[in-house]
Amino acid sequence: MTLIEQPYRHWLGEHQGIWARRRVIAQTTLEAWLAAPWIKRTVFGCWTACLGMVALLFILSQFVDSKSALAEWLGQENPSTLLLIGMLEGWLKQDPELVAGVPWALLFGFYSFALFWPTLLVLTMAIPRVISRDLATRAIVIYQAKAVSKWDYLMGKAGALLGLMALTWLGPLVVAWFASNLMAPTWTFFWHTRGALGSLLVFVGFSIVFLTILALGLSSVSAKEKAVTTTWLCVWLLGWGLEGLGSVDSHNEGAGWLRHLSFRYNLSQVQRRAFDPTEKLQRLREFKSPDGTRPLSEGLMPFTRIQDLEGYEIERHVRRRLRSPREAMPHDHGDEPGEAAAAQQRREREEQALQNQVRAEVSRLRASRWNGALTGLVMMAGVSALIVWVRFRKS
């Protein structure tokens, strides 16, 4: 007796297009990753962070509206706070781009930097499962025997990686931007903070495309998942270590190019370029309260510093280097009052010249690092694409 009871029926439906098939590959791969507990937890953590961002931005937006519930409550507790809030509100009317746009950009610069780490963590867990596992189980043969080409397969896998990074990185940031503006005192916040959205889309968009290419390449290195994980960790952590060797304070100045072997460093240059936190903080210094403090720039200083640690380091290093020979020269203070004033003027001129020199040197160094970072990223993406091409060329 046969077990077969189901008669065979022909299927008479319409085939779906190739994009639907690519989407199926991406969706199925992503669902399989999200079934892994640690990936699920990390994604959950990123969205929890998103809620934290929304809460912080909500509080910030309440500070520029004297009629907000927070302002009223704080005003009852401390009337001087209400004065500060009123002042911020005035500034917002005077220069909304600066008062709303710049703090948002600085905070989103910080957030986009902060969510980079869980994204790398999730990639560590996902990379061996992108292509390597399919090679190990010969699932690749199944894909190739279906109505998808190897490029469709790669596009599907790339879609899964983009989707995963959208869940841990881009998604929480965009949702935080949208929700914070939704809860802002006026709808115009959407317009005033568009710069922050643009910067994060540029930086995170660029980064996830780069990391997708890198992940595809690394996952094609071997059919052994452990070998793929080890290679990924080497690329990430070894590169991170090499950043130290190439830092400005390193004794080995010729090793500066080593820092560009770190994709983390190279992406941090893209982030700095997209958000330009130091320049933005400088602009916020324009706002002073009656007691001489700078509430906006001081409040946002830690968020800025953490985004551009290297910028501060470069500036300190250049300043020290340029100042040392000047300090070694004898100073002419002048005995007569006229001479003293002239010496003072000369010193001020020298200081101004020094500042200009520092600025020029800093921007030269920054430009060189930006070029190096772009070269590094292009080379890494190129090597990665080459690995994928070699792996799939003959299969």
């Binding site: 077969i4 085939h15 010969r138």
Partner: protein, 306 residues
């Protein structure tokens, strides 16, 4: 002759310096096609080249009237393939896996899911479909490979050693299913195997490949008719006497280990042999005309190729 489903023109495939396929040219009409050859003959390579899993190093090939190099993706929408090795997507349940395979061939999700369950029923899989494919036994893997190969209702299905590792009952069921695909549902089946009995049982056309070359392409009927004049006679007893009788008539005869008497009678049919038995009061239980004809054709083809 109907429109060929497989056409190849001097296709060549090289692995380094070794010629896995050497100028293979063939035009195969629809049917149940047996692809025979010893291990390493180039059967799997031939299939892989037709499906574009391996690029061709020379020649051209077409499936269902379309060029495989230019229209590979469109062709594979109408073609099924069950590979020889275990290939699965890790972590997936059986029904998810077959649904996914259907979706990869362009079926919308709900159709894919429904078809997947139908095909799993068709291949005789019960509740095992809700287990991860990684945990399946060899028999279940063979069944699910068949299910994923036909889930999108292809016009032609390539089955590479589909009965490997199956017990006799399981093998019989799979062969019955495969046979029904062509006989009842008009799906062209290409069965690659080194098991001659399987091919003999369900195929009506035979391709024999050895050392990368196509040695034979003909219908099974024609091949069998080339080997006329051999029969196996089954008798209850008196095998030695029967052998002696046949030899006295100038025929070569031998008693096989299963008790059958194999005779080379040399005739186009069994009429002379039946007349002889009638005259000498021999009452055989059964007379098997041209037993192992395929095996003999196969061995002859191989020996000619050497």
């Amino acid at each position: 002759m109907s429109q060929p489903v497989i056409e190849s023109e001097a296709i060549t495939k090289l692995y380094g310096t070794q010629r896995a396929l050497d100028q293979v040219s063939v035009r195969v009409p629809p049917g149940a096609i047996g692809l025979l050859g010893p291990n390493g003959a180039g059967k799997t390579t031939f299939i892989k080249c037709l499906l574009q899993l391996q690029p061709l190093d020379g020649g051209r090939a077409a499936l269902l009237g379309r060029d495989v190099t230019r229209e590979g993706r469109e062709i594979r929408k109408r073609v099924g393939y069950a590979p020889e090795q275990d290939c699965h997507i890790p972590g997936m349940l059986g029904c998810e896996y077959v649904t996914y395979c259907a979706q990869l061939n362009g079926l919308p999700y709900y159709d894919a899911r429904q078809r997947a369950h139908e095909m799993l029923d068709f291949v005789g899989m019960g509740q095992e479909r809700y287990r991860a494919v990684d945990t399946y036994s060899t028999g279940m893997k063979q069944r699910i490979k068949l299910a994923q190969a036909i889930v999108h209702d292809p016009e032609i299905v390539f089955l590479d050693e589909p009965t490997n590792g199956l017990d006799p009952a399981g093998r019989e069921q799979i062969l019955e299913l495969v046979q029904s695909l062509w006989v009842r549902h008009g799906m062209t089946v290409v069965l690659s195997s080194h098991l001659l009995h399987d091919v003999d049982r369900i195929c009506d056309q035979i391709l024999i490949i050895a050392r990368g070359r196509l040695l034979v392409h003909d219908t099974l009927q024609n091949l069998k008719s080339r080997r006329v004049g051999v029969a196996e006679v089954v008798v209850m007893s008196g095998q030695a006497a029967l052998k002696e009788l046949l030899e006295t008539q100038g025929m070569r005869a031998e008693v096989l280990s299963n008790g059958h008497v194999r005779v080379e009678h040399g005739g186009a049919d069994l009429t002379p042999l039946l007349g002889l038995f009638r005259r000498h009061q021999v009452r055989p239980l059964e007379i098997i005309p041209s037993p192992n004809a395929l095996e003999e054709v196969f061995l002859q083809a191989l020996s000619e190729a050497v």
